[in-house]
């Protein structure tokens, strides 16, 4: 009946709930990590942990910008297609010109362009984000197939894929890049006016607009960044696989959104924390990794992942009500 916003009682401020608020998901991750280290054979080894980190690097990078998208009250389904398209385009241009910089520029530019168009359609023209990015997801996926004729494009420039498989201090380069993304977007969210404004837009778009927040511009910037980062992740993935593959990363958008939701980002906008998103990404990767080590068949893994997502969201609701 009285389900208006003000009717929900604020959570009590016991020390535990404050700790839970700021670091709840990281705590869950830590517990899971310790549990898996003890009970799952081969889990706690350098090789496995490196593999785990690599496996979440793509999702991690894109989750940074998806967090902004969700915080501002939108979302973007086209990221998986952009990852594939950027890889294919980058590989094609590198092969044709022999110039890595040109390939990288083409891939990043096209990703940013896709994001920009998404942003203009959503924020300026006013088409629903679900419809807009559902359309661009299919268009861009199609373009990837067209550009590659449906086949993987092998990269002939050694320096590029050597970079994708290099490591610094024993940590693979893609993982460093993901950490870099988390740092940059964490700063952007917490320490800049841009981050504040994004949250205000997600919390109440009309009020933000009347308060002089440039709503359209910020949304376009967020979508453009989303496209740019997805393309960047696509390039890194292509470097790791030494080829641009047009059918990679299908369904990635949903994994990214799942990780953000696990990290407590509100789908209705206005609430986001970078630490929790990092935890969400790590939990997703850890569970996947542990299930593989335990030889759980992939069919069951889908079920388990869905249940974990539901469980996390319900835990969060329960916590809010307590």
């Amino acid at each position: 009946m009285s389900s208006n916003a003000s009717a929900s009682a604020p959570a009590s401020a016991s020390p535990f709930s404050r700790l839970w608020d700021s670091a709840g998901m990281l705590l869950v991750f830590a517990l899971l990590f310790v549990g898996c280290s003890i009970f799952v054979e081969n889990f706690f080894s350098v090789a496995n942990l490196r593999g785990l980190a690599l496996s979440v690097s793509t999702i991690g990078m894109i989750a940074c910008t998806m967090m902004f998208c969700l915080a501002a009250g939108d979302f973007d389904l086209s990221v998986g297609s952009v990852v594939a398209f950027a890889g294919v385009l980058g590989a094609t241009v590198m092969n044709a010109t022999g110039n890595v910089a040109l390939g990288v520029a083409a891939a990043l530019g096209s990703g940013a362009l896709v994001g920009f168009v998404n942003g203009v359609l959503v924020a300026r023209v006013g088409i629903n984000a679900l419809i807009t990015t559902l359309a661009s997801m299919q268009i861009v996926r199609g373009l990837g197939f067209i550009a590659s004729d449906g086949r993987a494009v092998g990269i002939r420039t050694d320096s590029f894929f050597a970079f994708g498989n290099s490591a610094l201090l024993g940590v693979p380069t893609p993982v460093w890049l993901t950490i870099g993304c988390f740092a940059i977007f964490g700063v952007l969210l917490n320490l800049t006016i841009f981050g504040r404004n994004a949250l205000a837009i997600g919390g109440n778009k009309e009020a933000a607009h009347l308060a002089g927040v440039p709503v359209t511009r910020i949304k376009v910037v967020i979508f453009t960044l989303q496209g740019l980062v997805a393309a960047f992740a696509g390039l890194v993935l292509a470097a790791r696989m030494t080829s641009g593959q047009p059918n990679t990363s299908q369904g990635l958008e949903l994994e990214v959104i799942s990780a953000c939701v696990l990290g407590g980002v509100s789908l209705s906008g206005g609430v986001a924390r970078i630490g929790a998103v990092v935890a969400g990404v790590l939990i997703m990767g850890l569970v996947q990794n542990a299930m593989n080590l335990l030889n759980i068949p992939p069919f069951y893994q889908y079920v388990a992942r869905g249940l974990i997502l539901l469980g996390a969201v319900m835990l969060d609701r329960f916590k809010r009500r307590a």
């Binding site: 009946m1 009285s2 009717a7 401020a13 800049t192 504040r196 002089g212 206005g270």
Partner: protein, 511 residues
């Protein structure tokens, strides 16, 4: 479930009720009784605890301690559904109805009559018609709810409560959007409910209504019970007001003539949705210009055009002589024109963010930033200063603004605009739903702003308020400017007459 069949008299007691939120004691040991067959006024400033008490009664909140007794039986409602089942109905200002459904569907929502697996349409319609008759509403049960006026929807909400067997009915400022005629109808129904033995709790800020409809009154202040009058016969208005604010209020409007300087805001030939002809007016620096009119006269629409919330189809706005780019609130704010919208919840606050963030939302980048990043020190200090300066009652600057009372939310929104270099401020119904104490603080602030040379435009539906604080009054009627009065010639009768549609004799707006 027939309402008339219940002859017994309901009783409702609040026993040592308390509710705590982080850092705030919203209710503290509140006890009083509401007798069936009577209307009991619940009064108090914003933040006094009225809303919290209603939410406990409706089952939305659980009390921290104490209890609610219904007909002498102690009840703790775990949910709104339990409260409804026990016979409690709370009619909020914002109604909980579905505008896409018919009146009948709304009335019986959640308990549709069935025949086998199918909806029994005939029974639905018959029961709906019976409930509508209870509130004397002559409506087809098949009308889509969205087509009804606000007053009619309220009647539907009351009928719905009666249909669910409500014995205790609480009204939360039910007349705030009703005309005088509609208010009279509502009162007739409340008297009818009273005669049937229902216990009625009536939350209001309007003194006239207390004396017209209520038999008893309880005043809360700062979450505590101040006084309960079992009869209002010997209680004066001044005494009630005094117990609400804890101090005597002399002249709430506190008007002083001010030095008026050159034009601050000039609007010429502005046209757009909601206006039937282009509008021109101007406000001097240091002047307070009031806009009066009935609900729907086009005042809010005009202000939205002035402030760039809606793009005008013609005309221009000048601030201190400089032309303003149209259709952009951002450009307006940069030029020093700020707008405080009518609907606080929908257009004013970002409910799920903190008081500090809400106050700093419009701050200039140069202030809010040190180098590339947010200046947390400045941000905190500015929020704290504004909170203290406007006496916003909040546990801390980091509290979510949505958890504050309406008056405190309004003060926080005003604080946002004072962060800016304001030249013109447009306030659309700044005191709606706000108690007398907060109102007089807002009036004082308006005077303070005007004295420093700000041009002030205030839209209000409360005639005494407009006349009390304005240097000049413009009256709008049906999308047109109908008249303009200087302070000296603005008598209540003349202003109201100008606001009424020709041929109408009801005074729909005098609050």
């Amino acid at each position: 479930m027939s309402v008339s069949a219940r002859a017994s008299v309901a009783s409702l007691d609040f026993v040592a009720l308390a509710k705590e939120f982080p850092g705030v004691r919203a209710l503290d040991d509140v006890s009083f009784s509401v007798r069936g067959g009577g209307v009991h006024a619940l009064m108090g400033e914003n933040g006094a605890g009225k809303s919290t008490l209603l939410k406990i009664l409706s089952g939305a909140y659980r009390p921290s301690s104490g209890s609610v007794r219904l007909d002498g039986i102690e009840r703790v409602f775990g949910s709104t559904a339990e409260a409804i089942a026990a016979g409690v109905a709370v009619i909020y200002q914002e109604l909980h109805l579905v505008s896409e459904m018919t009146v009948a569907e709304n009335l019986l929502i959640g308990r549709y009559p069935r025949r086998g697996l199918l909806l029994d349409r005939a029974a639905l319609r018959a029961e709906a018609a019976r409930l509508l008759a209870l509130v004397g509403e002559d409506l087809s049960p098949d009308t889509r709810l969205g087509r009804l006026s606000l007053a009619q929807r309220q009647m539907v909400e009351i009928a719905k409560a009666l249909g669910r067997g409500a014995r205790v009915v609480a009204f939360d400022e039910p007349t705030s959007s009703l005309s005088a005629k509609e208010t009279a109808r509502l009162f007739a129904i409340i008297r009818d409910l009273k005669a049937r033995g229902h216990a009625i709790l009536y939350v209001t800020h309007r003194m006239d209504e207390v004396y017209e409809i209520c038999d008893a009154a309880t005043v809360l202040r700062d979450g505590r019970h101040v006084v309960t009058h079992d009869s209002l016969a010997a209680v004066t208005r001044d005494a009630l007001v005094k117990s609400m604010v804890g101090r005597e209020l002399t002249n709430v409007y506190n008007y002083r003539p001010r030095l008026q300087r050159p034009e601050g805001l000039e609007v010429s030939g502005l046209a757009g949705p909601g206006l039937r002809a282009p509008v021109s007016f101007s406000v001097k620096r240091g002047e307070v210009l009031g806009f009066f009119g009935l609900v729907g006269a086009g005042r809010s629409e005009l202000m939205r055009l002035v402030c760039g919330a809606v793009e005008p189809s013609a005309g221009e706005v000048k601030i201190h002589g400089a032309r303003l780019a149209s259709g952009s609130p951002r450009a307006a704010i940069r030029a020093g024109l700020v707008f405080c919208p009518e609907d606080r919840k929908k257009e004013g606050i970002v409910a799920i963010r903190s008081v500090a963030e809400n106050i700093n939302l419009s701050a200039r980048r140069s202030r809010l930033r040190a180098g590339l990043f947010l200046d947390f020190t400045w941000e905190k200090r500015n929020a704290r200063e504004k909170i203290a300066g406007l006496r916003v009652r909040t546990a801390s600057a980091d509290t979510l603004i949505g958890t504050l009372s309406g008056g405190n939310q309004q003060k926080a929104i005003l604080a946002r605009w004072l962060s800016e270099n304001v030249r013109v401020i447009v306030l659309d119904e700044p005191t709606r739903g706000i108690d007398i104490g907060a109102k007089s603080e807002i009036y004082a602030l308006i005077h303070e702003l005007a004295e420093t040379g700000v041009a002030v435009v205030i839209v209000s539906s409360e005639l005494p308020e407009v006349l009390g604080i304005s240097d000049r009054v413009i009256v709008m009627r049906e999308g047109l400017v109908a008249a303009e009065f200087a302070r000296e010639s603005a008598t209540p009768e003349a202003v109201l007459r100008a606001a009424l549609p020709s041929g109408s004799s009801v005074s729909a707006a005098a609050a």
